[in-house]
Structures are given as C-alpha cells and as structure tokens.
C-alpha cells in the first residue's frame, strides 16, 4: 500500500474519482495551469484538460452558483475555495441556493466544495479560519473533516458521490506534515466517527488537525480515548454517546472559535442524552473568540496547544 502525505491523498482521491466518473470536474481559482495554490491539482490539466480542470474568474459566489447550475443538469463539480475563509463570499449561493434546493424543490444539488481550513503557520485572520459551524447551522449542507491521509482520500470520494452539497474541510497544516498508508484505486469512507486511540477513563472528542494535537497531548496519559469525528454533518451521535458511556469523562476540542463551534453542539448533545453516564463536567478546549492573529506568539497563545489539552485531561481525570 502506498504511503502518502495528506495532500497527496487528496490529490489521489480527486484524480481517481475523475478517472472513474466522467461527470466529475474541478473548478476554482488558479487550479488549472498553476496546479492550485497548494498544488492539489498539480498535473491534472495535462491528464484531464482545461474543461475538466477549470480556471475560473475570481468570483466565489460565481464558483458556487455556477456549480449548482452544472450539478442540476448532471455534472459533478468539485469547487475549490483557495482558502476556506473565502467561502464567505459564496455564503449566499451555498446556504440559500444549494442548501435549500432539495427541501424546497425536490431537486438534488450534488456539489462538493473543498475548503482549505485552519491555522498554525502565521496565515493571519483571513487565511486561518475554521468556518464549519457557519454551515453546520444551515440545513441541507453536509460537512466532512478528515484528519488522516487515508480518510482524506476516502471522504473526498464519499463527498463527490453524495447527491447533496458537501463541504470538504482539508486542514492546511496537515497537508505535508502527516503521512500515512493509503489504499490505491477508489474507495469511499463513511461519514462517521472513528476511534483514533482507545481508552476507558476519558475521551477527547475532536476533528481535523486537533486530532493529532490531542493524540500528542495524551500520549503519556493512561486510559485516554481520542474520538475523531470525521463528519460534522451528519454528526455521529451514536459514536459520541458510546464513548461517553464507556469513558464517563469528556474533553471536547475545537480549533475553531469557541462560541457555537462544532464542539458546542457535541457538548449539548452529551448534556442532554449522555447525562446519566457522566462522571464529571463536559470540558471544552477551544480557540477564544478572536480573529486568528498573525504573529507566532499570539497565534500559539490562542490555538489549542498540546499543553492546554493535556492540562484539561489531567485535571478532569483527577476530578
């Protein structure tokens, strides 16, 4: 089985699915000739041609809106937002046109929107955001967020095959830092959580880059489970409640801003449906409600660190 970086796995998944399904095509800024700002589509235009690897005008609303049009006449567009932050320019098309179409009109909108998310490398306020929660709150949009190369490929393929709008949150800071074994060919990963490390005394629930931070933070602690959500919509409630039942103590980690982040929904779910299994308060570790700052000491101070997560776990274990 080949070993790939997280980024290579995304490329591989996209390439394999494009080979497998001629309806699939990519559209985004600088993805064709240039191969993409992060080189995800490097070389694609040579294999698939400019029609299927489309360099679009600088128009996020246009990218999402035209993707909707292409999808309802039978194509499978995979849109790239150059940075997830720019999805705000396409918010209206995504939330009001794509998200609500099936509920209102019974018409499927099978689009995929790739969002390079997250911070940790001095990207500053407009290149480091985690916008998942904005869209968790909008009915009709699915959201996946892989943490491993294997899942990155499998979830991208699942997203493309899904008949609904799916946001694919690929964490930039994992692109070249994380390597793993990735199956060749095409395979689809289900939109459900997975246990990254097993344990029975406490569970850390998180997704994306924070999965790796959490694993590192709890390496030396005994009995700590790490649950990688992998999918935010649909949210794997069963897996969450199973882990609460087994571990009784929960730390929820968000790299996104704390207020109403995905972790807030997880915490609310646990408070309501996992109450009788709790042996301690549901603790959250998240970025405070500030724009992500640029200078390293400021950025490191706000993003959840290995130390902060470890500290929260140690305290809760002792509770």
């Amino acid at each position: 089985m080949p070993t790939m970086t997280y980024l290579q796995a995304i490329s591989d998944g996209l390439r394999e699915e494009m080979r497998d399904d001629e309806r699939v095509f990519c559209m985004g800024e600088d993805i064709g000739v240039f191969g993409g700002a992060f080189k995800v589509t490097d070389g694609f235009i040579d294999e698939f041609g400019p029609d299927r690897v489309m360099d679009t005008p600088l128009a996020e609303s246009g990218i999402v809106g035209t993707a909707v049009g292409a999808a309802v006449v039978g194509l499978r567009p995979v849109c790239e937002m150059q940075f997830s932050d720019f999805i705000s320019c396409g918010f209206d098309q995504l939330v009001n046109v794509a998200g609500k179409m099936h509920y209102r009109q019974g018409l499927a909108v099978p689009i995929t929107v790739r969002l390079p998310t997250g911070g940790g490398f001095s990207g500053g306020p407009f290149h480091s955001q985690n916008p998942e929660a904005w869209f968790m709150h909008s009915p009709g949009i699915k959201i996946v967020a892989p943490a491993t190369p294997e899942d990155a490929k499998g979830l991208l393929i699942s997203a493309i095959r899904d008949p609904n709008p799916v946001l694919f949150c690929e964490h930039k800071h994992l692109y070249r830092r994380i390597k793993g074994d990735v199956e060749a060919g095409v395979y689809a990963t289900p939109m459900r959580a997975r246990v990254a490390r097993d344990g029975d005394d406490l569970v850390v629930i998180t997704y994306g880059a924070m999965v790796h931070t959490a694993l590192e933070a709890t390496e030396e602690l005994e009995g700590v489970r790490v649950l990688d959500l992998r999918s935010l919509v649909p949210l794997d409630e069963e897996a969450i409640l199973d882990s609460v039942r087994a571990c009784a103590k929960v730390v929820v980690v968000d790299e996104a801003n704390e207020l109403c982040a995905a972790g807030a929904q997880v915490a609310a779910l646990i408070a309501e449906r996992g109450f009788e299994d709790l042996d301690g308060p549901v603790v959250r570790v998240a970025t405070p409600n500030v724009p992500i700052p640029f200078s390293p000491p400021l950025e490191q101070a706000v993003l959840p660190s290995v130390d902060r997560i470890k500290e929260a776990c140690v305290e809760l274990l002792a509770y």
Binding site: L7, R177, E276, L278, A301, V302, E315, A318, Y319
Partner: protein, 381 residues
C-alpha cells in the same frame, strides 16, 4: 529552518554565505534555503559572530531545526505569551456531598449506600471507578434477606409425597419428631441465648469458596466448641460426657414430612469445603431416604438453619442427649455503628439453646462470643 510558506514542512540548505568566525549583521543574508517552491536568502536574526554551523550545505531538515549558532551580545528571553486560561474548576463549597449522574445511577441500580464508599476523586469525591471497585468486592445481587443456607435442588425423590394427613391425624414421622421434641423440653432445662454477628467476611468467604454460609459457620462453631468443650457433650440422666470429637448434626428439612438430622462424624477434621461437601451429600441422601442408621446417630452438637424464609430468631429445641443446639437464621443488612459512624453490614443473630442442667448462661454467652469472634475474623481458614 524558517517556515517559508504555509504548507512547507522542510527545506534544504543550498549555500552558507557566512563561515564560522565571520561577523554577521542583523538582516544580512546568512544562507540560502531551497524548498520545493523556491530558493530564498535567509537573513540573520541578530548581529553577532557566527560560531557554529549545525546543518551543512546540501542537507534537508524539518522546519524549526536549528541551522547555526550566532553569539549575540546580550540575549532577550522571549516570553511566549500564553493565553491565561480561566481557572473556574474549583469545587464550590457545599455542605452535603454531590454525586455525579453516573455514580448516582449506579448506586440506584445496585442498591448501594454511597456513604459507605470511599471516594478517591477531587476533595474525596466518589468517582465511577470507586463505585466499580466497590462492586467488584461486593455481591452483585442485593443482600437484603439472605440465609446462609441454600436449599438443595429439588430431589427426584422416590419418597412419595406425603399425602395431606387425614383430618385429625399426623404422619408417623411427625409424631415421632413431636415426641422427641416434647421429651427434650420435658427433660432439659432449655434456655436460649442470642448474639448478633457481622457476616461480612463469611459472605465474602463463602462466595470465594463457592459454598453456602452454613459450612463456614459450622467451621467457626467447631472452633468455638474447641474453646468451650462443655457444650460438645451428652447428658443422659446424671451422666455428663464431654466429647473430644465433634460429631456435628445438621438439621435437614424434609418438607412436609418434617426434619431429620444427619451427623457428620469427626467434623473437626474437615475444612469448610469438606464440611460443605459432606453437608450437601448428607442433605441429598436424607431427602432421597438413603441415610443409614449410623448416619443419624452419635451427634454431639447440632446446627439448625431455617433462615431462608427471613425469620431472624428462634428458640430451637435441643437434640437429645446433646446439651446445646445452634440456630442460624436470616442474614439481613442493617445499619450498625462502627467507630461512631454508621455503616451497613450483613448481620445475623445466632441463637443457642442450651441445657441449664449442664451449663449456665455465662458459658453459653462465652461460646456465642467465641463463635462471633471466629465468624467476624473469617479469613478462609
């Protein structure tokens, strides 16, 4: 190795523009780094002297790796500002104890007294682990009323079920037993003394051995009889004989037919397990009518154990010509005072009927105290 670009994880030192010993000025190019994107000059972070090159030309290292050392005049400790976490986790002062939802649920499920469980969590909080640990060393099933005696499985007895007696008539066996009882009460000066005992260790011990409590209590009774041999005796008219060996009679119910007392001879040589096996076997054969005559003769002390129905005290009748009989009734969980605190313990009341012609109250009480001592100190022996 500086981070050049968002997704760059490593870089190669293409060229050192300065050598060890050279002076460098801040922002002056000190080396050239090559990444998969571009080649870039790296400016020196401070003014000083290049002391040591750690990564030679041509080598590729991860971002963050120290490339070289510069001796700088004066150094600045860069404090990494850590976002001050709100410290809101001190437990609020609270008069009563608080239990978490899972602990409360488990307590309700298993009918546990949380006050009796030691808490190892913060400020003595009882945690889920504490409850699990407690349960591991206690019984699963609630122990509210429990007799040490376990009824044997229903015998496929060839013994025909007794016909309901014709109105006004008792069965032959019943009459025989009745005569024995009447004679005993008429002959002996029968008194009864009771003592309470904490059966915790017996309960733990019997579970460990896979037995009922009866053989364990029997073992304790034998030990007590060794200490007070006067109770292991016969009184026939004027002749009072103390025996060395303990031939232990165990009363076995035969249902409507009445009861019979098979004797385990030389019971003092048996361990609790041995006693258990013999008692079980005797009871089985008693019910199937296979007891031989010598198996129901010669007993020097008798234990009766009807506690499975919940009765707590009784006034047993001495089995002639013995001078004492020990009664085991139900084991009931009660609140008791230990070290001026209330704890829940499985308690029972041992009753000893004794013949005042041969014994007196003090002796009876001492025997019971010994019995209690052995029971409460049970450690498997």
């Amino acid at each position: 190795m500086p981070q050049m670009g968002v997704s760059v994880a490593e870089g190669t030192v293409a060229e050192w523009r300065k050598q060890p010993g050279d002076r460098v000025e801040a922002d002056e190019p000190i080396c050239v780094i090559s990444t998969d994107k571009i080649d870039t000059d790296v400016p020196a972070p401070a003014s000083g002297v290049l002391v040591e090159i750690l990564v030679p030309e041509g080598e590729t290292v991860d971002v963050g790796t120290v490339l070289a050392r510069i001796e700088v005049e004066g150094s600045e400790a860069l404090g990494v500002g850590r976002w001050a976490l709100e410290d809101g986790t001190d437990a609020k002062p609270n008069g009563g104890k608080r239990y978490s939802p899972v602990v409360a649920r488990m307590a309700a499920q298993h009918d546990l007294d949380l006050e009796a469980i030691k808490g190892t969590g913060r400020q003595g909080r009882v945690t889920k682990k504490d409850v699990l640990a407690f349960l591991e060393h206690a019984d699963e099933a609630p122990m509210h009323i429990e007799s040490p005696y376990r009824p044997e499985p229903e015998p496929q007895s060839p013994t025909p079920k007794a016909q309901s007696p014709k109105p006004g008539a008792l069965s032959r066996m019943r009459r025989s037993i009745g005569e024995h009882m009447k004679r005993s009460l008429e002959t002996a000066a029968t008194c009864t003394t009771w003592i309470e005992a904490d059966m915790s260790r017996i309960e733990a011990g019997r579970e460990q051995l896979g037995l009922t409590a009866l053989p364990l209590v029997a073992r304790c009774a034998i030990a007590a009889l060794r200490e007070h041999p006067q109770l292991n005796a016969w009184l026939e008219g004027e002749a009072y004989t103390v025996h060395d060996a303990v031939h232990l009679g165990i009363a076995v119910s035969l249902g409507d037919e009445g009861l019979i007392v098979p004797v385990i001879h030389d019971a003092q040589e048996l361990s609790a397990e041995g006693l258990g096996r013999r008692i079980k076997d005797a009871a089985k054969r008693a019910r199937s009518g296979e007891l031989r005559p010598d198996e129901v003769r010669g007993g020097t002390f008798t234990i009766t154990n009807p506690g499975q129905y919940g009765s707590i005290m009784a006034t047993p009748v001495i089995n002639q010509p013995q001078v004492a009989i020990l009664d085991l009734e139900a084991v009931v969980k009660r609140p008791v005072v230990i070290d001026d605190a209330i704890a829940i313990r499985p308690m029972t009341i041992f009753g000893l009927s004794w013949d005042h012609r041969a014994l007196d109250g003090v002796l009876a009480a001492q025997f019971l105290a010994s019995l209690r001592r052995h029971v409460e100190a049970w450690d498997g022996g």
